[in-house]
């Protein structure tokens, strides 16, 4: 689960991770109150969407830049009016962009130098890793690729926690001394506590800055959480912004379906994540384009299948459907009956190819064949994929 920058900064504050003073506004009526809480002088206006590249983004109304520096609060108020309610397109949003429903004002900081700081899971060691670099404010993937020696990593032993010597090591590698070193050490320790205590998947501060007066501040903040751990963090679940999520994905989650919208035209409905991924792959392999990832889980109950069909058909790009079920424990005939009922209930008009395999498959195939529905049966995944690709192309 992702949260907005302004929410992440509020979270940082509770853990003692300093950031420039800021205030969010969800409507133009809130601009004055938000700005009143900030000091006079240069102010930043930042569009709040769950996507990176905001500064270089363009609004669909032609206005350029989702993050702006303003010399005065009056100017900030004017600029915020150009962002709020408008749709921002960045390299991460796709061409449709995202509607800006919140703007965030912060006091503009004097920047002495920019750094990069992030904490996430290192899968190879199964430990948290703190990643830092002297190259802040730019894309960290590019730094890692071009100048890997400028990326510093600290692996944290989960049994002991982050050790002081490790923090010192990182500080020295970043070349910080004196009051900056002291402030940075405190920030890193507190950021780690924030990461660990909130079950974050990743906390990223890019850039982290030093100021001429020796302060160390999180100028930006990107935080995401481990979905599996949300059950023990109601305070974080409360931060979820459904406006930022695909409506079909929200609907799918109500039925314990794992659905991800893609931009192709062949929808698929599969049981199991690995099989669902490879069903998308095999559609592509035979020249089609998958419209979605959809895992109905090991059970594939009738209600789930009906819900899945409705979600799939909510995507106007879909021109055909491939159902791929390996009924290991489940009786294929029960699944077939579920498919038949679902197709009848939603009044499906599009080409449908069903590949069923597993337990009691002969009865399942007979149910499909005798259903009176114009569906096509596929024997193997390859056979089914080729059939649906052909039907959609026709």
């Amino acid at each position: 689960m992702n949260i907005h920058e302004y929410q992440a900064k509020a979270l940082f504050e509770t853990f003692g991770v300093p950031a420039p003073r800021g205030a969010a506004a969800k409507s133009a009526a809130e601009f004055d109150a938000a700005l009143a809480s900030l000091p006079e002088g240069p102010t930043m206006v930042k569009s709040q969407i769950h996507a990176g590249g905001r500064g270089k983004g363009t609004f669909t109304n032609g206005y350029k830049g989702g993050v702006k520096f303003c010399k005065t609060k009056a100017e900030a108020k004017e600029i915020a009016g150009k962002m709020l309610g408008e749709t921002l397109v960045t390299i991460q949003t796709g061409p449709a962009g995202r509607k800006v429903q919140t703007v965030y004002f912060t006091a503009a900081s004097d920047i002495k130098k920019e750094y990069y700081l992030a904490i996430l899971l290192d899968r190879a060691t199964s430990r948290p890793v703190i990643v830092a670099s002297t190259e802040g404010g730019v894309e960290i993937e590019k730094v890692a690729h071009d100048t890997p020696e400028k990326i510093h990593k600290i692996f944290v032993d989960p049994a002991y926690g982050l050790a002081d010597f490790q923090v010192r090591e990182l500080i020295f590698q970043l070349g910080l001394t004196g009051v900056e070193a002291k402030n940075a050490a405190k920030l890193i320790r507190n950021l780690y506590t924030c990461y660990w205590e909130t079950d974050a998947a990743m906390v990223e501060v890019n850039p982290l800055i030093t100021t001429p007066t020796g302060d160390v501040l999180a100028l930006d903040a990107k935080v995401s959480f481990d979905d599996n751990a949300l059950f023990r963090h109601p305070e974080i679940v409360a931060l979820r912004d459904l406006n930022e999520e695909d409506s079909k994905e929200i609907e799918a989650s109500k039925y314990s379906l794992s659905y991800i919208a893609l931009d192709g035209n062949i929808a698929c409905l599969v049981n199991g994540a690995g099989l669902a991924m490879s069903t998308m792959d095999i559609i592509k392999h035979f020249g089609g384009t998958p419209a979605n990832f959809l895992d109905v889980g090991g059970g594939a109950s009738k209600d789930q299948v009906i819900a899945a069909f409705k979600i799939i058909l909510g995507d106007p790009n879909v021109k055909g459907i491939l159902v791929n079920i390996f009924g290991g424990i489940m009786d294929c005939n029960v699944i077939a009956q579920g498919i038949v009922e679902a197709v009848k209930e939603v009044g499906l008009k599009l080409p449908l190819v069903v590949r069923l395999e597993g337990n009691n498959v002969a009865a399942g195939k007979a149910t499909l064949a005798n259903s009176g529905l114009t569906l096509v049966s596929g024997d193997t995944m390859a056979d089914a994929a080729q059939k649906i690709v052909k039907l959609v192309a026709a």
């Binding site: 991800i260 994540a273 669902a276």
Partner: protein, 307 residues
């Protein structure tokens, strides 16, 4: 021989009285698996009764293991309590803990994995279908089935299967059995970013197992476990190996069902992993329908008989 478990292995079920655990306990008993104990705290002294079976239930894993000689545990405990259940098995000194539970917080697994360092117990999973060593009977009955895989699709034989995905494992096993090619052991290592046994751990065991003549390794996007295993295979494994990687069409940065199936960078894409497989002499299945055939091609090239 097989790896990890044999038809004689005595197993206990943590969470035997839950709906999910009970259902799969019955299926394992039908398969002929030696389920000798169940553990549900607070229900010690009761019995899990099914057909002619009367499986004693204990309050703790240590008690169950001591009383019955069980050496392996299958964990069907809900996510908030699953990490604790794994550690209980480790503390009882079990040989193997198989965590079926999906949805365990990553932080819990990070702590569990650290706590298991230097301990005797091996962990399989979490978020895995379990492990099956097929038996010699009809529909491979008489084997050891731990977890949720359909037992009847297996056949005793000489191919080892290791995979992060449940249904893709069944797909591979089904293809093999349909071609009359049996399996030594089929191992699901799970789709989570932090898991116990890795692809490489399983591959090493298959390599050492004289009855395993060929290996199918199934992976997906995310992490570098398949790459690590492939490089080891290139250096040390003489047996024919076929590989498949799911997720070639997955968009970057999105979790594809499995918590661990996410493209984080250029290194963990399907294309990058497939390239390493090829470089390491692994026969790549071009589609999931091609997994058994890919192994047959690899075996033919090395002059190995799989049946």
């Amino acid at each position: 021989m097989s790896i990890l478990i044999t038809p004689e292995t005595k197993i206990l079920i943590q969470g035997i009285t839950g709906e999910f655990g009970a259902r799969h306990t019955r299926l394992s008993l039908d398969y002929g698996t030696k389920v000798v104990a169940g553990v549900t705290p607070g229900k010690g002294g009761q019995f899990f009764e099914y057909k002619e079976h009367k499986v004693p239930i204990f309050n703790s894993v240590a008690e169950a293991a001591k009383a019955t000689g069980a050496t392996v545990s299958a964990i069907f405990v809900p996510p908030p309590f699953a990490a604790d259940a794994i550690l209980e098995g480790v503390d009882a000194g079990l040989d193997l803990a198989v965590a079926i539970t999906e949805g365990i917080p990553v932080r819990d697994m990070v702590r569990v994995k650290r706590a298991m360092q230097g301990r005797h117990t091996r962990l399989l999973g979490p978020n895995c279908p379990g492990v099956v060593t097929p038996g010699a009977g009809k529909d491979s009955q008489g084997g050891c089935r731990i977890g949720i895989a359909p037992g009847y699709i297996h056949k005793r034989g000489h191919v080892g299967v290791v995979s992060r995905s449940g249904t893709l494992t069944y797909e591979a096993v089904f293809q093999l059995t349909s071609k009359n090619i049996g399996q030594t052991t089929c191992v699901g290592i799970g789709g989570d970013p932090v898991n116990g046994t890795s692809h490489l751990d399983v591959i090493k065991q298959f390599n050492d197992d004289p009855e395993t003549h060929g290996i199918i390794m199934i992976g997906e996007i995310g992490g570098n476990a398949e790459v690590e295993a492939a490089r080891w295979i290139k250096a040390h494994c003489k047996k024919p190996v076929a590989g498949f990687i799911a997720g070639a069409t997955a968009p970057a940065g999105r979790r594809m069902g499995h918590a661990g199936a996410i493209v984080g960078g250029a290194e963990d894409t399907a294309a990058a992993k497939i390239a390493v497989f090829k470089e390491c002499g692994i026969e790549v299945a071009v589609t999931p329908s091609d997994m058994a055939d890919a192994l047959l091609r690899a075996a033919k090239a090395k002059g190995v008989v799989l049946t």
